[in-house]
Amino acid sequence: MPTSDTFYSQFRRAGISRRTFLHFCGVSAATLGLAPTMAGRIAHALETKPRTPVIWLHGLECTCCSESFIRSAHPLASDVVLSMISLDYDDLIMASAGHQAEAILDDIRTRYRGQYILAVEGNAPLGQDGMSCFIAGRPFHAQLKEMAADCAAVIAWGSCASWGCVQAARPNPTQATPIDEIVRDKPVIKVPGCPPIAEVMTGVLTYMLTFERLPELDRQGRPKMFYGQRIHDKCYRRPHFDAGQYVERFDDEGARKGYCLYKVGCKGPTTYNACSTVRWNDGVSFPIQSGHGCIGCSEKGFWDKGGFYQHVTDTHVFGVEANADRVGLAAVGGVGAAIGAHAAYSSYRRGKQSVDAQTTTSSPTAKHPHETTGN
């Protein structure tokens, strides 16, 4: 149940030393790209502020966001973050169930009206009256709308909540709909990725709790601090891209030497995320470092952009599913052949015309030689 004690007292009760606590504050400040002095302000905020209630809803999803979240990198950081916020409802990990669990939602909604953060993992299928995702006997979209009505802000965890992800991939049979298309009257912070990076998730929460405001968002509602640049912009293999050194096949010399994965379909140049800087699993690695191209999992509709291993993607319009280069080359060939045929027939006609012209000009009645020819 919600409590109003501070984060710091909560940490101490959990046996976390002050030294570890200050270490976390420093690491959080560094992760957020803040000045070193901000570590003190983070510590002060955690020592004095009451914990913000967070309601964590699960819609149509696979729980990979939660799996990522609990692996937040630094020792004890996952514990710390789970204690930092007052995580009052999360049907995945909460002990209570059934009516007891659902009662918490009503309680928070009335007691903390306009103050709690609604974190949503997954999205809501709107097709068949929302039949594809039922929670506590009613469609998920009903629960989502009800809880969103009184929240301070919504965090859309992962690509499901942000864009729709795999359940919204063509042809989207359940009409899975991202959160910002359902909740329109509250700020929605998109934290896309499949899953998002653990430190990005905790970083966004830490920022919101520390500064009591939303992080600065880009045009699509993503925090600029983590989604302001492409994977490609900070990729350690970027020098190989600029040099023209690519992995042509996964078993070639370039792959062994760690060349750029552009030609084997890396979506780093079109993907906004922090993987190439924050990396995964406590900064151990990220897909490109492991020798596989980025699949663009934090981008809108990434399931529908053709294969993960092709760079020039397929087009799905006008009932066509083809690659621009295949169609383009075919069009150039076709038009070239048509031009050749047209030119040949034109010159044949012209030759015929001049012969006709010579015969008709010999006739005294012909005034306009061209008009007597042709059809």
Binding site: H240, A243, G244, E248, V312, A324, I339, N375
Partner: protein, 230 residues
């Protein structure tokens, strides 16, 4: 008006002023560079060996693409300006008299001429209606699409808050995501390549078979007519 016929008793008319001709050839050159480097960005040459610091191949390809893109975009802005201060033919690229029945009648006539159904084409001081339609659709509309999608992609490397991002960054979420903008920009290249093929062919063919000059007009500016009939 420029598209109406007939132009009688004129053997030569000054159509394309010098700045407009310069724009045409500069754009032709920049489009050529853009198409080649654009193709190479999507389909890079075979991988190079040695140290990464020894080469800057993709870097140069992209540099030439961006340089040519700036030339094309600035040229486009100049061309828009010239439509206001240039002669009446300079306005054709930005005006299409689709409300005029005569435009459609002449367009049909031109199509029939290319289909060998008319004995000879009509004479036009400016563009013939078919060419006029293609110029507006491909060069004006198509050029704008390429400039907007191109600068939107360019803004991805200049970064959030750059002027390219402020002016063109909205294109990316409008189209979908970065990958989609790339794809349409790539499609645009193929449309322009096909247009250039048709443009060059019809210019040569008209120069030979029509009743007026085409290629030399874009060099000297003078439209020469081969006969004095209407």
């Amino acid at each position: 008006m420029q598209t109406s016929l007939p132009t009688t008793r004129q053997t030569a008319v000054y159509v394309y002023q010098a700045p407009l001709r310069a724009w045409h050839w500069i754009s032709a050159l920049s489009i050529t560079v853009l198409a080649i480097t654009g193709w190479l960005i999507a389909n890079p040459p075979p991988t190079l060996s040695g140290e990464a610091s020894d080469h800057f191949q993709m870097g140069y390809i992209r540099f030439f693409h961006f340089a040519a893109a700036y030339v094309f975009a600035v040229g486009f802005l100049f061309r828009l300006y010239w439509a206001f201060v240039g002669n009446r033919y300079a306005r054709q690229l930005f005006t299409l008299p689709f409300w005029r029945p005569s435009f459609w009648a002449e367009l049909l006539h031109e199509v029939r001429w290319y289909a060998f159904l008319e004995p000879e084409p009509r004479k036009y001081v400016g563009h013939n209606p078919l060419a006029h339609l293609f110029m507006v659709v491909i060069i004006t509309v198509g050029g704008l699409v390429m400039i907007f999608t191109g600068f939107a992609l360019y803004s991805e490397q200049t970064g959030l808050g750059s002027w390219q991002d402020q002016l063109f960054g909205w294109v990316i979420p409008l189209v979908g995501q970065s990958q989609d903008v790339r794809m349409w920009h790539h499609w645009g290249m193929w449309v322009i390549v096909v247009f250039v093929m048709l443009h060059v062919y019809t210019a040569v063919r008209e120069d030979v078979m029509s009743r007026q000059s085409l290629i030399s007009t874009m060099i000297s500016g003078w439209r020469m007519f081969k006969d004095d009939r209407p």
